[in-house]
Symmetry: C2
Subunit: 307 residues, 2 copies
């Protein structure tokens, strides 16, 4: 009986993998670096080696799920665009890993697996429908509908970092202007700090320390960030009317700095929010969400009676 | 065997109903006015009379679906807000109709039933997932996911007329500012015509005739409308990655005036749109969409083998 699976979280910096059983218990875990400088084949070998070292009894293995940053064509398992993993673009990464392992592999966007992880074992355990925003270098989105990842017809649903916040402002790499991730990502915080002459080499975390210490310019940055998130969340609430919206990612520790402006803005902008008990909360699994979500993917396809 | 159903389209002006069989054939149809001036009970009586007159063999009747403008609590069948049917707010309209008929009734938002109608018998027949925007006095939205209406946890999903287009502009009755319906509804067209001194008593249709005749100000109104729709559609495409987005409603005949700006804006603003074969098209059923969609609702709940 298939009672455990292996989840892989392939980022631009870290490569992590875990064997997790159906109850959500982590059996074994590996953390390493994504050795981009060694080239594509070396990274594929590292992924395959990680999975192989986590696998023991193949008969009991439900499958392998891999979360990657980028746009994915679900049908072909190909990444069509990925700023963090450029040499995997247009490369059949899913089938390549699968061939080396002799096992089927499910490829999924990293924000989608994080959302699935939170649904399975984190802040979303008590709902079937949720939206997750990951606030990191960029902003990703994952939408869980009736307990499953919403893919759209190609696999590109949930690109919520590119919701338009200020229609004719900051150009974005996606072609749009004024995208959410230009106002509420770690990168945006750093850019705003620079444009307010707070410093040229500050990290988002350093800006949050300044804000926590009472610096007015730094506080204004987090107010802008919160208002932008609130504007985006109001649209998501009006669109989905889901019970739960989660935030995760590297900027989450600054919650107390941006959340008041964010919640005030959602409240003001969404009748739907005011009329219902919609929750906007912190995700709880941190970096582990991607591992849990990736490991859950093979279970999703199995008959319910086995679960 | 349940082989036909009755759909009711209750608007602020018109009350229409039809008996439709499972193949989508309209068996009988009634059109009348919504006699708001006669009061709530009179309108309920009119609805009940319309349904009764369409019903023949009750054993073969799958059920009754009613589409209404407004926010609906699905669980209770109560309308919580409706500018067009104010005296039905907080009134148990679903159960009231049901009691008079001795039949179960399904209540649904009017844009949702229009989307369902287009999915069943109109422009969305070949897909399982679509988003519909109804461009009328206001703007409504209906989202079809895996062949069913997306409700959210209360029943308020799809409030797409309140997507934010210009974050700190025109205040909207919903509490937000710069809502899509302030830029792309018939009401918005009339307001823009007034503010450009085109005339104080022009209808949206009259403005479209001016634009079609080459009036520069009127043309600019439809460009603004198209750009606003394009900005909203880009967000919807990035969010859902569905294959099809439909537009319907009273402003649809002006398609040639607004669609070029709309499509250019979606293309510019959405990587997802440029990378996929996403279609943005006219709905095809016109006012009939609501009748078809309402009539489909009772079929949706029936076992597949009967269909």
């Amino acid at each position: 009986m298939a009672d455990y699976s292996i989840g892989v979280d392939l980022g631009g910096t870290n490569l992590r993998a875990a064997a997790i059983d159906r109850s959500g218990k982590v059996l074994r875990k590996i953390s390493g670096s994504t050795n981009l400088s060694e080239g594509r084949d070396a990274v594929v070998s590292d992924i395959v080696a990680a999975i192989s070292s986590l696998r023991d009894d193949t008969d009991r293995l439900a499958g392998v799920g891999v979360g990657v940053p980028g746009f994915i064509i679900m049908e072909t398992g190909i990444i069509t665009d990925s700023p963090n993993l450029p040499f995997f673009v247009d490369f059949p990464i899913r089938d390549e890993i699968s061939k080396h392992l002799g096992l089927p592999v499910i490829l999924e966007n990293d924000a989608n697996v994080a959302a699935m992880g939170e649904k399975w074992m984190g802040a979303g355990r008590d709902v079937d429908d949720l939206v997750l925003l990951t606030l990191g270098t960029g902003i990703g989105g994952g939408i869980i509908t009736k307990g499953k990842v919403m893919h759209g017809f190609v696999g590109m649903a949930g690109e919520l970092g590119h919701l338009t916040i200020v229609p004719n402002k900051h150009p974005c790499g996606c072609g749009n202007q004024g995208c959410l991730e230009k106002y509420a990502s770690a990168t945006a915080i750093v850019c705003m700090a620079r444009s307010l002459s707070l410093g040229d080499n500050l990290t988002a975390e350093a800006v949050s320390h300044l804000a926590a210490g009472g610096d007015e310019k730094a506080r204004a940055i987090f107010t802008t960030m919160g208002q932008s998130l609130g504007q985006a969340l109001a649209m998501l609430v009006n669109t989905f009317n889901y019970p739960l919206y989660l935030l995760s990612g590297g900027v989450l520790p600054a919650w107390d700095l941006f959340a008041p402006a964010m919640l005030a803005e959602v409240r003001r902008r969404s009748y739907n929010f005011r009329a219902t008990n919609t929750r906007i909360e912190k995700a709880t699994l941190g970096n582990e969400a991607g591992l849990y979500g990736a490991a859950y993917l093979p279970f999703e396809g199995l008959p319910l009676q086995e679960q």
